[in-house]
Symmetry: C2
Subunit: 252 residues, 2 copies
């Protein structure tokens, strides 16, 4: 019986729109506008190693939860999907706090780019934190990976229907204009990414389940997406995105 | 950019019906009668760690290809599915010869057994070699893992239609009787497992594509399943299973 430790080498690094853990979708493909680039590291940056991969619309990425401290696993977890109340075994969840910090996501492969010695896979629908180390890439095989008779318990809906994500997401005129300009300059679907990220309501469960009161001071929340800081607050009318700033600059 | 190596600890060990690489299905679930037990290793053998897992019909197992020598990866592979002729990039295949020897299989979770301090997951539809070290268990989440619009290239059929797997699989009377007795004693669906394993024709591609000639001496093949050695040959009538022996004994 082999119980010796196993040693893996990163084969690539992710450059993701998500610069911090807060706001990252709970699963891949919940936010199709979320994009990332997977750059292969030497000695794996060889065109032959990805030959034929372009035939697949989707790929599995095995990666490392690199912002998790080693050995801080717990046998049980409170999944956000259950409102943070119920405890489940770590192996019955996809929590990041696992005995081995291995992540697994099926994402869309948009394009493979070759620029000099750099090989870059353009991905969408990602749930990766920026700078995530990748340890494997495998094709998504529908005949093997689609299990039509799979049944499951607690995770029967991607979203919790009781949470206020049904609130409309509203942009101020300045924010809307910023998104239009930014997309024209970068090709990044910023407005969609904000919509898709906030639809999932990244706040902690105890806040999500609390209705917004009319007399309450607006409570601001923020996330970083690409090179931007995004700010919003919850009002009785909905989720209001009212400020976008370039990180380290001040020009909305 | 983190390119430091990553260490993983085995969290469990597989006891599988497949005692050698030859004959193992190319993907999980191709042989539903193929069963295995995943026994959790200390300190992960805690009932809380699998609490709620019984709600899922299928689970992902991340494991190590432990019979692969380290660092023998090749940038291209000839997948058996393509008749062993065409080369594809290693990341466009699920070959075992990868930069990191990580395997990934979705299998059926039949039962979770607790016996004293032992926690054992009974699995079916497996493609694991015996003694495989497991590094992670995650639930199969249909809403995240079923990608109905996934498209793919070379791997459009689980079986190669040109291969002789369409030949009937024939058992001698002794073999049939042995299977019946064995299943009565062990509960293991031996006849089905042999059928499902041979349907995939585990021979190398160059033999698979060669028709059987009438005057040829029968060429015997063998695999080990559970505690048994199984022998068969190819004839013009089909695949004939003509001998089963207990490993290290002689009593068919």
């Amino acid at each position: 019986m082999s119980i010796t430790p196993i040693y893996l080498k990163p084969i690539g690094i992710i450059h993701s729109c998500f610069k911090q853990k807060f706001g990252i979708p709970r699963q891949s493909r919940l936010a199709p506008a979320a994009t990332a680039e997977l750059v292969l590291l030497p000695p794996y940056n060889r065109a032959e190693a990805v030959k034929g991969l372009e035939q697949f619309s989707h790929i599995w990425i095995s990666f490392i939860f690199h912002q998790i401290q080693g050995d801080d696993w717990l046998p049980t977890i409170r999944p956000p999907r259950l409102g943070g109340k119920q405890r489940l075994g770590v192996f019955a969840t996809r929590s990041t706090h696992r005995p081995n910090p291995l992540g697994l996501s099926a994402v869309k492969l948009e394009e493979i780019c070759f620029q000099g010695s750099e090989i870059c896979l353009k991905l969408s629908g990602v749930d990766f934190l920026d700078k995530t180390p990748v340890v494997d890439i495998k094709p998504y095989l529908p005949y093997a990976d689609i299990i039509t008779d799979a049944t499951y318990g607690y995770a029967d809906q991607p979203f919790d229907d009781q949470s206020p994500h049904k609130l409309p997401i509203l942009f101020t005129a300045d924010v809307q204009q910023f998104c239009t300009n930014y997309q024209a300059q970068t090709g990044r679907a910023l407005a969609q990414l904000i919509q898709q990220t906030l639809t999932q309501d990244p706040r902690p469960a105890y806040l999500r389940n609390k209705p917004v009161s009319k007399n309450e001071q607006p409570r601001y929340h923020g996330i970083s997406l690409w090179d931007l800081n995004i700010r919003w607050y919850y009002s009785t009318a909905g989720i209001v995105v009212d400020d976008i700033q370039f990180i380290n600059t001040n020009n909305v």
